[in-house]
């Protein structure tokens, strides 16, 4: 008897509180998650190769500006994240190697460098059964903004160089415009996953590098708040002040337009800043939310011409980790747009589109009992070629 009364009491409480509770719109909740999500999503590497070649143009076309004369030495007033924490080490060697150096070889951060500070330690990751991660944060100062830009551009280039890492420019992360995010591919030679983010502010580059000794999957959120905090400290201690603006890619010209445009310049006008506390889709045109122009886009009154001669050949489908798949195909035209279709999806619509690329990493694919199957559709002008289906 009392059990029933008790249940009624608790259910009434839950019902009433449920009614009184204020809930943020789902889109806002997703945006909250996305803002702090250090992972290679969406626009992280969209057109990364293009941006690599012309970042100076992006800066000149409306990005935040920091004076060209930056500090040459790191003052004691600047405290790095974790600095002073128990069992964390600090190294002030100005010529220390960058812990983030995809592909190895000559350290791209040494040229023009005037000072450095390194703080490293071990911290646990995970709410349940935490695993130890080796975290290294580094701050490099350069003689000029241009030297810093050259260094981070090279880091981005190497992240895309298919030498065991994947990533590239990540202006949508909310850490600024000149941000590189990368992580190692799976499987790793030494079974030690690594992830790194590098942020350039004026003549400074801040690097946060995470490495797992246990082979566990790295939490993309890890150290994000520290990176944001570092932005504030760089402003306070070094005068390198820049708001944490987010960037999104505004609609790209369609494949037809790209045939007549210089592909190394066209996308540079398509990065736009927006307040990080908003969802880009709330401040941009509806086209932004779409993966790009589709063959069925409004305005395409004539059906595309099927041309088997421009059908890509899928050369690789590799599972990188849970829900992450690497897909490669043959390039059919330097100005082709490629649409990736998950065959067996609901429905079989493109889940991604890329330009002038021959591979893509799909993240957050839903777990499947069976296989992932894909097709790649090449779109060149008004012609279209469809690959054979390839399954994982």
């Amino acid at each position: 008897m009392f059990d029933k009364i008790f249940s009624d009491h608790m259910t009434a409480l839950a019902d009433e509180v449920s009614s009184a509770a204020w809930l943020a719109p789902a889109a806002k909740v997703r945006a909250r998650g996305d803002r702090r999500r250090i992972q290679l999503t969406g626009a992280v590497a969209v057109g990364a190769g293009v941006l690599t070649a012309t970042t100076g143009v992006v800066m000149a076309s409306g990005g935040p500006t920091i004076g060209t004369g930056g500090p040459r030495a790191i003052p004691d007033t600047l405290v790095m994240p974790h600095e002073g924490d128990p069992r964390w080490d600090r190294d002030d060697n100005p010529r220390i190697a960058s812990v983030f150096n995809p592909c190895g070889g000559e350290d791209p951060t040494l040229a023009g460098r005037t000072d450095a500070r390194t703080v490293s330690g071990v911290v646990p990751q995970g709410d349940q059964d935490p695993v130890p991660l080796v975290v290294t944060t580094q701050l490099f100062l350069f003689r000029t903004n241009e030297a810093a830009e050259a260094a981070i551009t090279e880091l981005s280039r190497r992240s895309e160089a298919d030498c065991g890492w994947f990533g590239g420019w990540a202006p949508t992360m909310g850490l600024g415009q000149f941000v590189v995010l990368a992580r190692t591919m799976y499987p790793h030679e030494d079974h030690r996953p690594r992830m790194a983010v590098a942020v350039r502010k004026g003549n400074a580059i801040y690097v946060s590098h995470i490495e797992s000794n246990s082979g566990s999957v790295l939490d993309p959120l890890f150290e994000y708040e520290a990176a944001k905090e570092m932005n504030r400290r760089l402003c306070e201690a070094l005068g390198l002040c820049e708001p944490l603006t987010c960037y999104f890619r505004s609609p790209m010209p369609g494949p037809t337009a790209s045939l007549t445009a210089n592909p190394t310049q066209a996308p540079l006008d398509h990065w736009r800043p927006y307040p990080c506390d908003q969802n880009p889709s709330d401040v941009a045109s509806p086209d932004l939310a779409s993966p790009g122009p589709t063959p069925e886009s409004p305005g395409e009154s004539r059906p595309p011409i099927q041309n088997p001669r421009i059908a890509p050949v899928i050369t690789e489908v590799t599972r990188q980790s849970e829900g992450v798949v690497l897909l490669r195909w043959t390039s059919v035209h330097p100005d082709a747009a490629y649409f990736i279709v998950r065959v067996g999806g609901d429905p079989n619509l493109p889940i991604a589109s890329v330009y002038n690329a021959s591979f893509v990493v799909l993240t957050n694919l839903p777990p499947l009992d069976g296989s992932y199957c894909f097709q790649v559709i090449a779109d060149v002008g008004r012609e279209r070629g469809v690959s054979q289906t390839r399954c994982l």
Binding site: F2, R32, F166, G323, V361, T363
Partner: protein, 172 residues
């Protein structure tokens, strides 16, 4: 190279709309702070969205969110707990003005029992979890959960105007 996120926002939004309010009620019942509960639940769902491809496929994604929301709430709740206790000593805390007197009485009663008992009681009576399921969710033993439910019920009975508590089979 391009990296593309293919999470399903529609399924997340549907999940959020159908489960978030009850999650707020649960966290509120445990912490006694509605604003804190709302924020903790929002944080938990934001984390769920970050991992939605995996969590959306769970058998009980709501359970995952509930556990995370609880941890988020408790971690911040502990920081302010002393302040709240001090405030409570100076007079009764007004829980939520919009709640009716009966609900306020339940909330006040819940506040007088330990948090672990509150949590077990809410999971059992609101979400209908079995003792075994509560044990799994709270990382406790079955016997500990039985004890918490029993003691919680014993403590709440007089506070809710009931003289005695019949022992019932908690179908572990």
């Amino acid at each position: 190279m391009r990296v593309v996120d293919v999470r399903d926002s529609a399924s997340f939004d549907e999940f959020y709309a159908s489960t978030a309010r009850q999650a707020v009620a649960y966290v509120y019942a445990v912490t006694g702070d509605l604003a804190e509960a709302e924020d903790a639940v929002a944080e938990a769902y934001a984390r769920a969205w970050q991992r939605w491809a995996r969590i959306g496929a769970y058998e009980d994604p709501a359970g995952w969110v509930r556990r995370v929301a609880y941890r988020v709430a408790v971690s911040s709740w502990r920081r302010t707990r002393n302040r709240v206790l001090a405030h409570r000593r100076s007079g009764p805390v007004s829980p939520v003005p919009e709640l009716n007197p009966d609900t306020v009485a339940v909330v006040e009663a819940l506040r007088q029992i330990p948090a672990v008992q509150r949590r077990a009681i809410m999971l059992h009576y609101v979400f209908g979890l079995s003792v075994q399921e509560i044990a799994d969710e709270t990382d406790s033993s079955v016997s500990a959960v039985k004890q918490r439910l029993s003691r919680g019920r014993q403590a709440l009975a007089p506070l809710l105007g009931e003289e005695t508590v019949e022992e019932v089979d908690l179908h572990a």
